[in-house]
């Protein structure tokens, strides 16, 4: 049992990180913390992929002419390079939206924003409305 766990410690770490991330996304009301959780969640998947490509005793995948050399699989690493870029873009856009939310609502706490939305019986119209004209 212990050896089994020790042999797959990378997966255990992945699962722990994944749960931390998902918990933050679901349970935190602070939008920045939500985004932090999302990043942790995505990072756990990156680690999962990267450890997937490692072969015990394998070396960097650069051909050295020796047919007996054992290489690690480079493909998952390349995929994660792409996924990291996507993750950075997601975080950047999320932060930009949070900035705008802070400007518009004066808060980045979800419960306060929900309160503000509830108080808003009708949104601010751009032009005079039917009611205003009456």
């Amino acid at each position: 049992m212990i050896e089994q766990l020790a042999g797959s410690w990378n997966h255990i770490i992945v699962v722990i990180l994944m749960m931390i991330g998902l918990f933050l996304v679901i349970a935190r009301t602070n939008l920045i913390k939500k985004l932090v959780g999302l990043s942790i969640f995505q990072t756990s998947v990156f680690i999962f992929y990267i450890s997937l490509g490692k072969i015990a005793g394998g070396t960097a995948p650069i051909l050295d002419g020796n047919p007996d050399t054992l290489y690690s699989n480079p493909l998952p690493h390349v995929l994660i390079l792409t996924a990291i870029v996507v993750g950075v873009a997601t975080t950047a856009l999320g932060l930009a939206l949070i900035l705008r939310i802070n400007e518009a609502f004066g808060s980045i706490e979800e419960d306060e924003i929900i309160e503000a939305k509830a108080r808003e019986s009708l949104p601010r119209p751009k032009r005079p409305t039917v009611e205003a004209a009456e």
């Binding site: 856009l93 949104p123 119209p125 004209a133």
Partner: protein, 498 residues
């Protein structure tokens, strides 16, 4: 030259919108950006029609990006199922772009329009790629391109309603979690099969024999797509996103975004896992069908209790997505072709409804709710009549496209002899008449409030709106083209092979 274009059509369909996006973002003139976007959307539609004419007889186009042979390189596959989905998406995308000029100018600053249309092109290009790609990881990239751009478009509704920002943020976070789930699933399947090409995966999965790992991988991939397709219970991002987004964006997203995710869901279940029925069939009958029915009821009931018109139809979209998922869940040729018919018809219906609501909102200068649209049938008759036609089609009245959808779905259910599902579908259809009646009654039978200002009709959206309204009637009377295309799509999907 012509031949070179035709052989490279699948790549062009993605490359042209993606190239137009940065050009658009540099433009300061809203009209110029719109013209470019219209050209991009129009050429995509023509390209999709050409692909459809090539593939309708069961031809399968396999396009190797950069001439790298699959499974090493990325492959685009276009068969009759792909091309039908593409025709629906590009066609409605083009019509939404036609309507966008007037709707956008009333809701978005002129100086932001270039960036708005840039995101618009990114969504389109990303979704077209999503539908065509046969590489499981490439699919994730397209998924994120379109999701990030959609979040931007939704957030741009902040000019008129600040709640759009929160809706955009939630869409971004929930969408990213869904996409990451999908990536986890792909990781497991890659670990078992050593390939990312869908056709290759499908061939290797039955012999991989890794029971639990395959189940887990499949579960993650499907869960991710359920989020993207907004299937109950992970649909919660959709009502807010659709209702606070700018009207033009609601039209575009309702017509094309969830459709692409539903199509990908079908491809995961039928193409990649078609060879292992012990996984795919159980998921369909025990998970997708109950969730679809749950979505149909939740969406319909929420729509009945909603006073805000845009939100009402966003809830109704959840229900309609349920009908599409239900057809897929039946996993029979009749069920899957009913799904494809409804993908096309629902795009027509919701495209028209959101466009008309956009017209009301622009004229009212405020959100459309049951109070503000009182008597609007007489104040804006041309827009309201098109709205009425699309609404009747949504209810499934004979001689409208919605009736054809319901007819084929009911037939498919009868074929499987699951009378409980049939009863539930019929009850939910009857319920959907409740909210439609509520809104039609307010619009047409109540007089406009006294001393209300005259509402200006919006001739710029007549053309796209009435194209869609006529489409609803046309496909209600002569659905033979659509039905044949949907049948051939179902054969291509269920017949195995990527």
């Amino acid at each position: 030259m012509g031949a070179a274009i035709i052989t490279n059509l699948p790549a062009l369909l993605v490359v042209v919108p993606l190239l137009l996006a940065p050009v658009n973002s540099l433009l300061h003139s809203a009209s110029l950006a719109w013209m470019l976007t219209l050209i991009g959307a129009g050429s995509s539609f023509i390209a999709a029609l050409m692909l459809q004419s090539i593939t309708e007889n069961g031809v399968r186009i396999s396009y190797h990006l950069g001439n790298w042979e699959p499974p090493w390189g990325i492959e685009f596959v276009v068969d009759s199922a792909t091309s039908l989905t593409l025709v629906v998406m590009t066609g409605l995308g083009f019509i939404a772009t036609l309507a966008a000029r007037r709707l956008v100018s009333s809701e978005i600053n002129d100086k932001d329009s270039g960036k708005f249309y840039a995101a618009w092109m990114l969504v389109s290009g990303g979704l077209f790629g999503l539908v065509m790609t046969a590489d499981a990881f490439n699919l994730f990239v397209f998924l994120e391109i379109s999701a990030l751009a959609s979040a931007i478009l939704i957030g741009m509704g902040a000019g008129t309603d600040r709640r759009a920002l929160v809706a955009g943020f939630h869409y971004l976070v929930i969408g990213a979690v869904g996409a990451t789930f999908y990536v986890i699933g792909v990781g497991f399947i890659y670990a078992m099969t050593g390939t990312l090409n869908m056709g290759d995966m499908a061939a290797r999965i039955p012999e991989a024999g890794g029971g639990a790992v395959l189940h887990v991988g499949f579960g993650f991939m499907v869960a991710g797509m359920l989020v993207k397709a907004a299937i109950f219970p992970v649909h919660i991002w959709l009502p807010a996103a659709y209702s606070y987004a700018p009207s033009a964006v609601s039209t575009l997203l309702a017509a094309i975004a969830t459709k692409a995710a539903l199509y990908v869901l079908a491809r995961i279940v039928f193409t990649i896992f078609g060879g292992v029925p012990e996984i795919a069939d159980i998921a369909l009958s025990n998970v997708i069908v109950p969730l679809a029915i749950g979505g149909i009821f939740i969406g319909t009931v929420m729509a009945i209790y909603e006073a805000d018109i845009k939100k009402m139809f966003a809830h109704s979209s959840v229900a309609q997505i349920g009908y599409i998922a239900l057809g897929l869940g039946l996993a029979t040729p009749a069920g899957v072709s009913a799904s494809f018919i409804h993908i096309a018809n629902h795009a027509l219906i919701k495209g028209g409804i959101f466009m008309a609501i956009g017209g009301f909102v622009a004229a009212l200068g405020a959100r459309a709710n049951l109070d503000s649209i009182t008597g609007i049938g007489r104040r804006m008759p041309i827009t309201a009549t098109a709205f009425l036609i699309c609404g009747l089609s949504l209810a499934g009245l004979p001689l409208t496209a919605g009736f054809i959808s319901k007819l084929y779905l009911v037939r498919a259910i009868l074929e499987t002899e699951s009378y409980l599902i049939l009863a539930l579908v019929l009850i939910s259809s009857a319920l959907s008449v409740v909210y439609l009646w509520k809104i039609m009654e307010v619009m047409w039978m109540q007089p406009a409030p006294v001393r209300s200002p005259k509402l200006a009709e919006n001739p710029a959206i007549y053309l796209p709106l009435w194209i869609v309204a006529f489409g609803n009637i046309w496909f209600g009377i002569d659905a033979s083209w659509l039905v044949a295309a949907a049948r051939s799509a179902a054969t291509a999907l269920l017949g195995g092979g990527a």
